[in-house]
Symmetry: D2
Subunit: 347 residues, 4 copies
């Protein structure tokens, strides 16, 4: 069987790096094009020394010219671009009949109005935005999305939050009031991307844990829209993001008022929702997830406890922000639309 | 003027190390005795290579024998011992008329019953427990405590929580219901002490953020007892502690329902409560504290925001767990009882 | 085709962890037995949470009883045990007709006398020691070793040193006098194993680079024996090992007097020696290897410069101590003796 | 007694930060001016949050205008500027009769020719260069330098190399041939300054040890010039610098051919040379210095071993690159020219 031909636009960042890592080893896919706005003609092996033994020395970056890339015989394109940049490539590729998996924030929301509210600019492709399904694979309720030309990949924080909460909201087990769900997330520095700013220097981040983006981080739009859909009622949460001194990983801890709810109920819903899903690790109460245990893996680990003193549910989650929160999840989506096992090349 | 003669029992851990660091440089105090249960006769300069240029090569550890230490002409003893061990030394020293500042958890609670509930054993000196004032210097409302023979030093997490919350509770600005105050704290690894356990190895903690001790960490007893005193009504909180991959530092983020409250009200109360207090840094809304900015300092930095969408108050705090959360705060207490400026030798 | 059945004795350390990681994903091998002296009956997925999605929940540790393990139908055993412990397992397995790849230091040297000199005890299986080939795959000069029942896997430091130097010594390009080759190596903390000692705690190693084991580290025996074989004359080197604050990785920098030698000569010899070998990365002069670029890879990267001022050759090397320096190299050996591609499951 | 009035030009980098840290606490000096090319009018406490409790909220950066700064009544100016920038400030201050301690590389060499050879540009103030003494306080052989208007502070690597080697060369104990002294240094990332480049991002440096600047780092000029003066004959060394994943610290390991020399001879020379010098820690053979033990200290620790197999001397050294390698040493120089104890404000 011939391999799926895949391409990446924007591979020079940390997310693009993960895509390359998985694709050069994927048994069913061939990395045929890697385009970059800044690295045209540079050999891939030079930019990704860590995968040097797996990358053909002849593979080089091509220029990120949407029209000419759209003419290439690529089955699936991954867009690993900053928000605001992905739309023009998505347009060209979709019109040329290619499949597109977008890892930016450009197509995650359901309306251009919400996009403008959180991203401070008009959406440049509102028709594509409205049409693109938002795909967190373990939470999809039918298979229609697998035919979509353009798919939006969830953000890192939102993935770590939806995996535990969506099944509980769908089951109507938890019924939050505005601001009563309190979410604290601690992200590795790669979450900010490869930005040459003082704040991301080694000397600034070593030994540093700090909050940022409180009270209104952009990911809130994506988090609340999807929790609300699951709850079938508006959900407004408190989201406190932080930076932690490590390259990769997100640890999320969620507190939810849960009067009358038992730990057993939570686990029963989770186990039913994630039966047979390899990338959700459900740990017993009291055994907390650890970012070091999911580093370099596409797995989300999670655990739940009910505090009898407060009648709160506390959920702890760990995930690799660059993998299940970005590149790994995108490959998982590709596997599903191409008919591979969802774990192909990922486990 | 002759210097204050001070001694330490249990100086081989990370907290003891900080005490030594400050005392060898303190202009008004002389470190006259350092006792250890395991290091008798070992030169201090060998155990504390980082302060080698400031420690007399003749100063060696003495044996941790309470009766004979009690006979030494020491003005103030610091106890940097595990909980359950401090009481016998405290007894001997107090009976010999010495002042004692205890850094363990042994004398922080107000009743032996509460101690037993959280520490799973009978308190061995309930009379001392009841008598010992719990001293977080910036929060004391009179000077009576300065005469107490035995003083209990607050724990690290509790300090980072009380500094922002106690003034707000005293002012009756916030009126929490059980479990509605949600506290997430991220501690450097030194918070666990110098324990030779796999979980504290470099290779286990690098790249790791993880929750632990949920839902009932021992510090809850101390936190809730003191918040309740401030509120003059029982306060029950949700406390989620975590480990972060750094040696020192605590970042605490607190969410409190605050309907109708403004950021200005919070800052006004804080500024009044901490006027002239050098070790409380009040940052403007949106500028979040950073553990790297308080490392090696006795300062607590904090900031507040109100989220208009949820009507929650979010407080972010950073502190060095080994200094303001332990050794530095103990020196600050010593400064106050000895009549020095509270910042002497600390800033 | 049925898969190769493999087993591991001593999988609870960092090296065993890497073996498990590669074997659960290896297309040609099945991990059938994992024995441990301390973890009998514990499920593997509990001890290796990081590979949870790839490990059958039914796979548990068996007891490390050599005679009963020898009766199991295992094709290849890996021994990931401390030195001094491997010999009894090796004896039982070899006598039962199994193949054994030993990752300890027990069978690396060629004589029991040299072993005693460096390891301070009599070798317990001198006949096996003498018979076991020492296999650094890229440096083997024939295929006879592939039939050996017991194979010794090289140490981490020695691998990083032999890969660059052995071809140059075999070609007689460099002709060292005693002590004129100066080797400085910086190892991640995992090189010390999973030892619960104060010196390996996170709080002791963060921010710490320090030398140790100077001037006579045990690996010297293995380094010098093999360099001498390559040079066909005794080679005595200066070896300065250090610890660096990271989990994994070795950076080795070697200075060799090289009067009259050109960089081109060095590269010509390297390129010939490693033609077609996927796991040796030869970088151009001036582009230095980086431990972060070989982390989680079985590759050794290296580069060479001649300093015209001193007529010294300086070689810089980077490698993952747990992979090419231990578990990955062992899998590579298994691949070769089983007739797989040497990179199977590794790239 | 009135305090010494000091000023800093270029305080926004890591070295300037250390100067501020020591000066705000110094009992004999008052930080009266802090000038910056980019931060004019910004309050110091904002840029140095870590010293917030010790910095007057009224102290703000002034513009870095040499002529107007030269008119200020400042006793001693510190220049913490990039090389090439310091000269114009030095000129203006010296002409106005101020004392200047320069931390850049601009005045460290003795001739403009050598400067041009290593720094690729003409020196802009050759007369000042020739006149400025190079002051590593522990190695000065008379007090004449204390009167010099402009003093050059040594670089970080050179300090860690000269402290152990200069006394041995002066005593003629070691007699190196070209390239036979092999120096490997491992520096914390702050050694590169606060540069917004990809290579210094947290995500690039975590887990990374790598060589750079081989075979001809700029510091070689300073190292060799001063070792040659000590030896009274040209000394040519091999210098291999590396980056290590930590903020601060330099670990240097030096190998020197030492036929017939004993460890005792080395220690005897060191003890004589550094008798009474508080900032040189001489550790016994086999006890190696650790960068974590000198972090935040102005001390250099060092140790020596002779390897009887190779007749090489191996010296291991640890130092804080930002303190004894920069800001601390500059304060030590200020102390000496102002007549304070050399450790004033530093220990």
């Amino acid at each position: 069987m011939s391999k799926l031909k895949v391409g990446i636009v924007g591979a020079s960042g940390y997310t693009g790096e993960e895509l390359v890592r998985f694709l050069v080893r994927h048994p069913g896919a061939a990395l045929a094009q890697v385009a970059s706005r800044t690295l045209a003609d540079v050999p891939l092996a030079k930019v990704f020394p860590q995968y040097r033994e797996s990358i053909s020395p002849r593979l080089a970056f091509s220029a990120a010219d949407a029209p000419s890339l759209a003419r290439e015989a690529i089955d699936v394109w991954f867009l690993a671009l900053p928000h605001g940049v992905a739309a023009s490539f998505a347009r060209a590729f979709v019109e040329a009949g290619r499949r597109v998996i977008d890892l930016s924030a450009d197509f995650r929301l359901s309306t251009p109005e919400l996009y403008k509210e959180y991203y401070d600019s008009e959406h440049s492709a509102p028709d594509l935005l409205v049409a693109a399904p938002y795909v967190l694979p373990e939470l999809m309720q039918d298979d229609v999305w697998k035919q979509a030309p353009l798919i939006a990949c969830p953000g890192c924080y939102p993935t770590s939050i939806q995996i535990p909460l969506v099944p509980l909201l769908r089951a109507n087990l938890i019924k939050p009031t505005p601001g009563s769900i309190v979410i604290n997330s601690y992200s590795g520095i790669s979450g900010a991307g490869k930005k040459n700013e003082t704040t991301y220097l080694f000397c600034e981040r070593e030994g540093s844990v700090k909050a940022y983006g409180i009270p209104r981080h952009r990911h809130l739009s994506e988090i609340e829209e999807n929790l609300s859909k699951a709850a079938k009622t508006p959900v407004i949460v408190q989201f406190n993001p932080h930076l932690a001194p490590m390259k990769r990983g997100i640890a999320t801890t969620i507190t939810v008022p849960a009067p009358g709810i038992t730990t057993g109920q939570v686990y029963a819903i989770w186990e039913k929702a994630y039966e047979g899903r390899r990338f959700v690790g459900i740990l017993p109460p009291g055994q907390h997830p650890d970012t070091a245990h999911v580093a370099n893996s596409n797995r989300v680990d999670m655990s739940a406890s009910i505090d009898p003193r407060t009648e709160n549910l506390i959920v702890t989650v760990a995930m690799d922000n660059l993998i299940k929160g970005a590149g790994g999840q995108a490959i998982q989506i590709m596997n599903l639309i191409a008919g591979f096992d969802e774990a192909e090349g990922l486990a």
